[in-house]
């Protein structure tokens, strides 16, 4: 299968800047005080993945804050999959419901964003108009305006940084493998002790993109759409690597966990010794919650790991756009960012630039204890940029054809 239908539309999207024409009643992000005034009394339905207790608690806290400060009520619509919210907006567009939509704000990034941007399902640009945009680390963290290489064009606002880490139980695995080759050797010697979430889960796809980084001669090809480069040659070493690794995976690669957090339970059960995560603080948070033993530690692969940003976006037909913007702006505040970075809460990286903060706000970050299983920024190392979304789509498809269907 060579299905590149999404890719083609993505290229089109990259070429033509999104041009969602604002509706007559839409708030004007340029006039922030009017936005805040309009937001008062609104209810914002924030559609966000609900599979993590830590995230749910954080969203509840953020809702309480904007309620008391701006009289904006936040309802967390807990999704089992972000695409459910995309489907909803799509169904509304199909039905011609161009106003008063059910989704006000979506936690989104990557392929979901690319698809919504491409289909003109997003409101904006608005992100750069937020008062807190000035303290965002645009220079140091280019991922905040390039979501998987797709320019955000102000259609989504970043709120957390994520970077690939691996966590392992040091009680069972004293010295984890730090290269993909070493991982393959270790897996061969210890069959059944490693796995990754099954693609198309983003974390499984991320594992393969991470592996690909160490195998392509020139990582720059990953920044271009796959049909502009020699995809077959670039991914040949990856498939060879997976051919060797898969028989040594958990359940011989005949079954996979269906989500990232599922690996926490598997490690706690002693089914696996090593797992991939996109949140450097996830292991520490799980230890704090009693979900993992305190012997679990994190590490990164040599040569660096992929990093990206999490965003929030507003559908074109959202009912409470002003309230959604006020909430997004609050998420960028030093107070919210510091809380999200606290490993006892979320352990997410901040999107803010420390040197743009006041001394008082900087102190909030300095005061944070990173947690027993969290790497310091120095140990975490530089983040590699996400490949173009077409890589993820194509790799997922090829993986499904090669490994996702039992022979």
């Amino acid at each position: 299968m060579t299905g590149g239908y999404l890719m083609k539309s993505l290229i089109a999207a990259a070429a033509i800047a999104a041009s969602a024409t604002p509706g007559l009643s839409d708030p004007n992000p340029g006039d922030w005080s009017a936005v805040v005034a309009e937001a008062a009394g609104q209810t914002v339905y924030w559609n966000a993945w609900g599979g993590s207790t830590a995230t749910n608690d954080f969203i509840r806290w953020a809702g309480d804050q904007v309620k008391s400060r701006h009289d904006v009520t936040v309802e967390h619509v807990k999704l089992s999959d972000t695409a459910d919210a995309v489907s909803r907006v799509l169904a509304e567009k199909t039905a011609g419901k161009d106003q008063g939509g059910a989704v006000d704000l979506i936690w989104i990034n990557g392929a979901n964003f690319a698809a919504m941007k491409d289909k003109g399902l997003l409101f904006g640009p608005w992100a750069q108009s937020q008062p807190n945009w000035g303290i965002v680390d645009v220079d140091g963290k280019p991922a905040v305006i390039n979501d998987f290489t797709v320019p955000t064009d102000g259609l989504e606002s970043p709120w957390a940084m994520a970077q690939v880490v691996f966590y392992y139980d040091s009680a069972r695995l004293p010295e984890p493998p730090r290269t993909m080759a070493a991982l393959a050797d270790w897996a061969a010697a210890h069959p059944g002790r490693f796995t990754f979430p099954q693609p198309p889960d983003f974390l499984g796809a991320t594992f393969m993109k991470q592996a690909l980084y160490g195998m392509v001669a020139d990582p720059a090809v990953l920044q271009r759409p796959v049909d502009h480069v020699d995809y077959t040659a670039a991914t040949a070493p990856l498939w060879e690597f997976l051919d060797g690794l898969t028989p040594h995976l958990w359940r011989q690669g005949r079954a996979y966990p269906q989500s990232g957090p599922r690996q926490i339970q598997m490690m706690a059960d002693g089914e696996i010794d090593l797992a991939i995560s996109f949140s450097p603080g996830e292991a520490s948070t799980a230890i704090a919650n009693g979900e993992l033993p305190d012997t679990v530690r994190s590490f990164v692969m040599e040569g660096g790991t992929i990093g990206n940003a999490s965003f929030v976006a507003i559908p074109y037909n959202a009912n409470a756009k002003a309230g959604a913007m006020v909430l997004a702006n609050f998420l960028l505040s030093p107070e919210a960012q510091a809380r999200a970075q606290n490993p006892d809460v979320l352990g997410y990286g901040t999107v803010l630039a420390m040197d743009k903060l006041s001394a008082e706000d900087r102190a909030r970050f300095d005061a944070l204890e990173l947690g027993i299983a969290t790497l310091s920024p120095a140990d975490l190392g530089p983040a590699l940029p996400e490949p173009h979304p077409s890589w993820m789509v194509q790799i997922e498809q090829d993986w499904t054809a090669k490994f996702g269907v039992a022979k």
Binding site: G51, S52, S80, V103, R254, A255, A268, E271
Partner: protein
């Protein structure tokens, strides 16, 4: 002749309420399957979605899995039901089993599946109980038990959950088959207990429970939550794959998803056809078997084997639930420890307060949907009684349509339809969508008791000057209070368990215990799953407990009122 009130419109109204959404929804799914989806740029008919579907490399195994797990689960559930009744009906042991089975109906499918997964997984409770002293396992062995590629674990999970349903349905149908007299005759003719029962009684029982059996078949083929938890993933059964495509970031996969949904519908129809053919074959073989006159008197060992199977399926669900309950209060709980290393109320403290809002919403929605369904069912049955509208026997088939058509094949279409009609996304729309699924079960539960009520009571009441309405409210419904409440409890349970309708029609804004549970379960943490599974089960059990308790309290001094 009696003057007609609005009541005679009830059957037509009910059918419209049931069939309208299903047919409109099917059209709404058929369109994208044929390439029509304007919001995604699909403006002309094309065969591309089906071509893409055929090109998907997992299609063969996914279709095979759908068929084999569905047919096998139904066959096993029905077979065990038949031999269980044959071997034990009327005995003290059976009454014990019956009492144990009834509450199992209130365990939501997903919760039962999670519980069973924890029981049988290599790191699960059974393995823990045997490790390390018997097995030598310090770490869970790398065995593919749950999510096996043949779907065995999934089939077993479905059987454990469908068995109680079919046994109770068969028990409800039994009185009309008059098993006592038939068995007396058969045993007098020298037949063994099981052989006599299977030859003389079962054919009549089966005729009565045919529709529930079809519902089980359609459900088992199209189930999503149980399949995700216990079923294979490389590839998954077709229904799961369709849901995956529906929720893929690549929106163009929606076309393929719609084509898959249509294929799923065709599969269900094919399986139902196959099943009907099988019925004919079995009937002919069974007829021959009955006429050959074998007495089968040495059935002792087989009897105990069937009791073992029945008890095992009860135990699987109860132990699984117990395991989840323990997880909800577990701190650290490592393999191979049989019990948690530490106990903690942390999970309840964390999630307990968040339970109340969705629990209340669940309660309101389920209560409203059940009440509407109950009102419609009673109106239909009463109009059948008053005007002799006998058409309903045939239209009963139509009432079952929402249970026979895969949810994923018509719900997205219903969602679009609801939006086009400008219907709001609130609870109202969700309640109506629940009615579509609740009503068939309420009809199923209430139909027989309502029809078998001695209508001479109505004649007496009329002779005493009571209007038909007064007869209904003051005589018939009070006398049928127990079955009415049981039907309500069944409907309530069905509503509580709805996931896709709540999510799709409610636009995600209506949050019930089930939508919350599924979202949280995607994280895989057994502590949270335990909390929500108990909350869901508790709510449903409350309904059943009320259905049992209310008539007992109300009619405590009325021995003549039969209990439901």
């Amino acid at each position: 002749m009696t003057r007609r009130s609005g009541l005679h419109l009830a059957p037509a109204l009910t059918l419209a309420l049931m069939l309208g959404p299903v047919l409109a929804g099917l059209l709404g799914t058929l369109a994208p399957a044929l390439g029509l989806f304007p919001a995604l740029g699909g403006t002309e008919i094309s065969g591309a979605p089906f071509m893409k579907l055929i090109q998907w490399p997992g299609l063969g195994p996914a279709v095979r899995l759908s068929m084999t797990t569905g047919l096998l689960a139904t066959l096993l559930s029905l077979g065990i039901t038949a031999v269980l009744l044959a071997a034990w009906h009327g005995t003290a042991a059976f009454r014990w089993l019956e009492r144990a089975l009834a509450p199992l109906l209130s365990v939501p499918h997903a919760a039962a599946a999670f519980g069973i997964a924890f029981l049988i997984a290599p790191s699960g409770w059974i393995a823990r109980a045997l490790s390390p002293w018997a097995t030598g396992w310090q770490y869970p062995p790398d065995l593919l038990i749950v999510q096996d590629p043949w779907g065995i674990a999934m089939t077993m999970g479905l059987v454990a959950k469908e068995l109680p349903f079919l046994v109770l349905m068969a028990l409800a149908a039994l009185p009309q088959a008059q098993p006592g007299r038939s068995m007396l005759v058969a045993q007098a003719l020298g037949y063994g207990r099981m052989t006599g029962w299977l030859k003389a009684v079962f054919p009549r029982v089966y005729a009565q429970i045919r529709l529930p059996v079809y519902a089980v078949l359609a459900y088992s083929m199209t189930v999503v939550d149980v399949a995700i938890i216990l079923g294979p993933n490389t590839p998954p059964p077709l229904s799961v794959q369709v849901v995956r495509w529906m929720s893929d970031p690549d929106l163009t996969l929606r076309f393929q998803a719609a084509a898959g949904a249509m294929l799923q519908l065709a599969l269900v129809l094919a399986a139902l056809g196959l099943w009907r053919l099988g019925e004919g074959v079995v009937a002919r073989l069974g007829h021959g078997w009955a006429l050959r006159g074998g007495r089968g008197t040495r059935d002792g060992a087989l009897r105990f084997l069937t009791m073992g199977v029945g008890a095992a399926s009860v135990a699987a669900i109860l132990l699984g639930l117990a395991g989840l309950a323990l997880w909800s209060v577990a701190g650290v709980w490592r393999f191979p420890h049989l019990l948690p290393d530490t106990l903690s109320l942390r999970s309840w403290a964390r999630h307990g307060p968040g339970l109340s809002d969705p629990a209340l919403d669940t309660l309101w929605i389920a209560a409203a949907a059940t009440l509407i369904a109950l009102a419609l069912v009673v109106a239909c049955l009463e109009s059948e009684h008053r005007y002799g509208l006998k058409t309903s026997t045939r239209s009963l088939w139509l009432l079952y349509l929402p249970l026979l058509v895969p949810q994923i094949a018509f719900l997205p279409g219903v969602q679009t339809l609801a939006l086009m009609l400008g219907g709001d996304t609130g609870r109202g729309a969700v309640i109506l969508s629940h009615v579509v699924f609740v009503l068939p079960y309420v009809f199923l539960s209430l139909g027989d008791p309502f029809r078998s009520w001695d209508s001479r009571h109505a004649t007496v009441a009329a002779a005493l000057g009571a209007s038909p309405a007064r007869t209904l409210w003051a005589v018939r419904l009070p006398m049928l209070l127990a079955p009415v409440l049981t039907a309500a409890a069944v409907g309530f349970a069905v509503s509580v368990g709805q996931y896709l309708p709540t999510l799709l029609i409610g636009g995600g804004r209506v949050q019930t215990l089930t939508t919350e549970a599924v979202a949280l379960a995607s994280g895989g943490d057994r502590r949270i799953i335990g909390v929500y599974a108990l909350a869901q089960t508790g709510l449903v059990m409350l309904g059943f407990a009320a259905a049992i308790a209310i008539p007992r309290v109300l009619w405590r001094n009325r021995r003549g009122v039969k209990e439901g």
